[in-house]
């Protein structure tokens, strides 16, 4: 699983570049190569989609294909659009789900981003699961009291789900700030001296696969009319 060892910032840059190349490519053959590269990297990184997720992706692509057909698009164009959509929607998840939050934070701390932004990202990473659990509990409580998410009950949904979530998140924010301040944390001095990850052979191999190969496909398509 060497993909997991790649520098997180290299992955973010590669994701942006792959997406850009995906937009520029015109032939289904070239786009298929890009999809194969992304799927290979995901497989190498140990990503195995659940059955539910797989069904969801297939339904989304099928419905997109059907809408294209309804607009009278040619079959080859539909295939090209589907492959481009696959590149756009697979690149991000494949690259970010193979990054460990610890490594991402270490890399961000070494980047020229402001310390506050790094802390904010850490808070997001840490508190999304906590707040999600909180939101589900609030939703469950509302459901037990007979709330159904239908247009007629929108006002009630706001009162029973959104308002409690608002107050809870405001309270969380106050607690986290106080907890950081009493521990002497400030934006003026860095709280950590931990070094960030450096560039390794995995990064170079990753760059060859995600930068040079897609660029070669682009050049091949435009100059050699390949794909």
């Amino acid at each position: 699983m060497w993909v997991r060892e790649v520098h997180p910032l290299v992955k973010i840059l590669a994701a942006a570049l792959l997406t850009a190349v995906g937009v520029l490519l015109r032939r289904p053959g070239s786009l298929a190569i890009l999809v194969i590269i992304v799927l290979f990297l995901g497989w190498q990184g140990g990503l195995r989609p659940s059955r539910r997720m797989g069904v969801g992706i297939v339904i989304m692509l099928l419905s997109f294909g059907l809408v294209n057909m309804a607009f009278g698009t040619q079959p080859m164009d539909i295939l090209r659009n589907l492959l481009r959509l696959a590149v756009l929607f697979l690149t991000g998840p494949v690259f970010t789900l193979t990054v460990s939050p610890r490594k991402l934070v270490q890399s961000l701390r070494r980047s020229p981003l402001p310390d506050g932004l790094n802390i904010a990202l850490l808070v997001i990473w840490r508190f999304i699961p906590v707040l999600l659990r909180e939101a589900r509990q609030i939703q469950e409580a509302a459901r037990l009291r007979g709330l159904r998410l239908v247009p007629g009950q929108l006002r009630l949904a706001f009162r029973s789900v959104v308002m409690p979530l608002c107050f809870q998140s405001v309270s969380f924010a106050d607690h986290i700030t106080v907890a950081l301040e009493v521990r002497g944390f400030s934006l003026q001095h860095s709280p950590s001296i931990m070094p960030g990850p450096g560039i390794r052979w995995e990064d170079i191999l990753f760059m060859i696969l995600t930068v040079f190969l897609p660029l070669a496909v682009l050049v091949g398509e435009r100059i050699l009319c390949f794909g």
């Binding site: 937009v23 690149t91 991000g92 904010a120 999600l132 950081l180 400030s186 934006l187």
Partner: protein, 183 residues
């Protein structure tokens, strides 16, 4: 060197951005299989706008919308780089307009305008980018003034409703001493 945003601001904005991501996580799956551009914003905007208004009211500084957008964009880059770009453009646009017209997010009107630009911008830029990138007859049919303007206006109306609800909550939170008092 003093930071433009305080630690309290960063934490609050991060928490509100997290809740906005969660709201998206809870509402978007309801319509994920409907291939109508802008439908995802339509269901999530009124709820997200409440938290957007809270963040703007608490921090009050110009740049808050961009900060929320950047934080959300980093999370949404897991789904799509285009989605991330569209969120950042919406945030920057809202801040630019508010910076010139209102100078801060102190007033309820400034937050309503920011919400309209932020969420309306998402739909407008999202439809435009999505259809341009995917292209074909799908794009040719949708890149017309009426479908884009219609969906944008509906989302703007819902976002304004959400910001209005958020502003009402801000009044309650000010009374409870959780938010800065108006001078």
């Amino acid at each position: 060197m003093n930071s433009y945003f305080s630690l309290r601001d960063y934490i609050f904005v991060a928490l509100m951005a997290s809740v906005m991501v969660i709201v998206g996580y809870l509402t978007v799956p309801l319509v994920i299989h409907i291939p109508i551009p802008g439908i995802r914003s339509l269901v999530s905007a009124p709820f997200m706008a409440v938290f957007f208004a809270l963040a703007l009211a608490r921090v009050e500084k110009v740049g808050t919308a961009t900060l929320i957008a950047v934080l959300m964009a980093i999370v949404y880059s897991m789904i799509s780089i285009i989605l991330a770009a569209m969120i950042v453009i919406g945030g920057v646009a809202a801040d630019m307009v508010i910076g010139v017209v209102f100078r801060s997010y102190r007033t309820a009107a400034s937050r309503v305008v920011a919400g309209a630009i932020y969420f309306g911008g998402h739909v407008f830029i999202g439809i435009l980018l999505g259809t341009l990138f995917i292209g074909g007859d799908y794009a040719r049919t949708l890149i017309r003034p009426w479908p884009i303007a219609g969906m944008t206006l509906v989302v703007v109306a819902l976002a304004v409703l959400g910001v209005w609800a958020g502003n009402r909550l801000v009044v309650e939170l000010r009374r409870a001493g959780k938010f800065p008092q108006l001078k």
